[in-house]
């Protein structure tokens, strides 16, 4: 199987890797770039644990091929904190206990950040629909929704 050389930007840094065309962006991030933030919950687009953005669009990285990332800008959960300083969403997830096992959390953070960039003041309904593709088997969602609302409020106040 001939591998394809892929050059792409992940969290602002140019990276390159060799990909079998069948490998997903999720596999490439985790296994070739050692960025294990994005998780594989299902591999079929249902759970959102693998959420990343590609050129600003929220996608499931399990449903994107690594070779499709050529020349694109990929953002993952690893790029959300500013060095040691957590993003408001990350802090609020901790404060509100919006995670238990944590496997869904990277996906929720990436998806919620993408929402707040487009809509700094979403309603609860808008948040719930936006995050409907992110499944959590532990928290029952309410704490996640509160964390997103609280982070949004703080970010609006700061702006």
């Amino acid at each position: 199987m001939t591998k394809v050389h892929v050059t792409t930007t992940v969290n602002g840094e140019e990276v390159e890797f060799l990909a079998d065309p069948r490998e997903t962006l999720l596999d490439c991030l985790r296994d070739k770039l050692d960025m294990t933030g994005a998780k594989e919950g299902c591999g079929t687009g249902d759970c959102g644990a693998c959420s990343v953005t590609v050129d600003g669009t929220l996608v499931c990285s399990c449903l994107v091929l690594g070779v499709e990332a050529q020349g694109k800008k990929v953002e993952t959960v690893e790029g959300i904190a500013d060095g040691e300083e957590l993003h408001p969403l990350q802090r609020k997830f901790i404060e509100h206990a919006a995670l238990q096992c944590g496997i869904c959390t990277p996906g929720f953070l990436v998806a919620a950040k993408n929402l707040l960039e487009k809509n700094p003041d979403p309603t609860e309904t808008e948040i719930r629909y936006w995050l409907a593709g992110n499944l959590c088997r532990c928290t029952g969602y309410d704490k996640i929704i509160r964390a997103v609302q609280d982070a949004a409020a703080e970010m609006r106040g700061a702006a």
């Binding site: 069948r22 687009g45 959420s51 590609v54 669009t57 996608v59 449903l63 994107v64 091929l65």
Partner: protein, 287 residues
């Protein structure tokens, strides 16, 4: 698997025509990748059409209709205010597909060519009278959307043929469309029944109509008897009952865990009436 990124539809068609094994086109990949990973379909050649110029464009055509590029995602369709105001039913069908993440990738043409009888964007396209341009080894041809699906997972496209654009006709005045689906939850599920209606009014009277149903037959179906029940009426109860009866008669569904034959048939009659009322209200300019 070989991965190709042609820069014209002619090249995409030529690649597909000369490929000896299993070939798939890659639009949003939300069906192709699921099937690849589940080892249901492992293509020998995967032809990514997203590098072809114009595939992300939504453009007004000379006749006042729309030309939608084959890589336009559901999210991009929904963000186009003018298109949404003219063809809300077409857009709401596509916007029901999957989650925010899936919407970032999934396309109308992928939904159509995956060939699911329950494909949510297809009834709306059929009711709208949408057509596709197909580029093949012998040149291009136009085909009505309802002629594309040929059975579950099958299309009428020949080897080497690729859809190169979707066209919506000019909406014109006093017209509206709507799509509704029934699922047991509110998000992220496969339609048990889908119903789309597009119509035009003269005063209170329906002068033109098209009705399409999803998930009640091996393909999405255009139901001309259902449209005939609406034309000439002002959507009175008798017309709505005749509409429901015609829709029910067109059903030839499967029995599965999502719904029995009886349930799907009954719900098709109910949904088609509701969709007709919404399309009628939209044609009257009510939001």
């Amino acid at each position: 698997m070989k991965y190709h990124t042609p820069s014209t539809f002619e090249d995409a068609s030529a690649l597909a025509a000369s490929a000896p094994g299993v070939t798939r086109f890659l639009a949003g990949g939300t069906d192709v990748l699921v099937q690849l990973r589940a080892e249901i379909v492992t293509p020998d050649d995967l032809i990514d059409i997203k590098h072809i110029p114009g595939v992300k464009e939504i453009a007004r055509t000379k006749d006042g209709g729309w030309r939608i590029g084959v890589a336009v995602s559901g999210a991009e369709l929904g963000a186009h205010a003018e298109l949404v105001s003219e063809w809300p039913g077409v857009v709401e069908g596509m916007e029901l597909v999957g989650s925010t993440q899936v919407q970032g990738r999934a396309t109308l043409v992928g939904n159509l060519c995956n060939g699911s009888p329950a494909a949510d964007s297809v009834p709306g396209l059929v009711a709208a009278g949408a057509t596709v341009t197909i580029t093949g080894p012998g040149g291009t041809r136009e085909l009505a959307v309802e002629e594309v699906p040929a059975g579950p997972g099958k299309t009428s496209l020949a080897k080497g043929e690729v859809i190169s654009a979707v066209h919506l006709p000019p909406r014109g005045d006093n017209a509206g469309d709507a799509y509704l689906r029934f699922i047991p939850r509110t998000e992220m599920d496969i339609a048990v029944v889908g119903a789309a209606v597009s119509l035009r009014l003269d005063g209170d009277t329906v002068t033109e109509a098209r009705v399409a149903l999803g998930a009640v037959a091996p393909t999405v179906v255009l139901v001309s008897d259902a449209a005939a029940a609406l034309i000439g009426s002002s959507l009175d109860d008798a017309a709505l009952d005749a509409l429901a009866a015609a829709a029910t008669a067109a059903c030839n569904p499967i029995d599965d865990k999502r719904g029995t034959v009886e349930f799907r048939t009954e719900v098709a009659g109910v949904l088609v009436k509701r969709a007709a009322r919404i399309a009628y209200a939209r044609a009257k300019g009510e939001k």
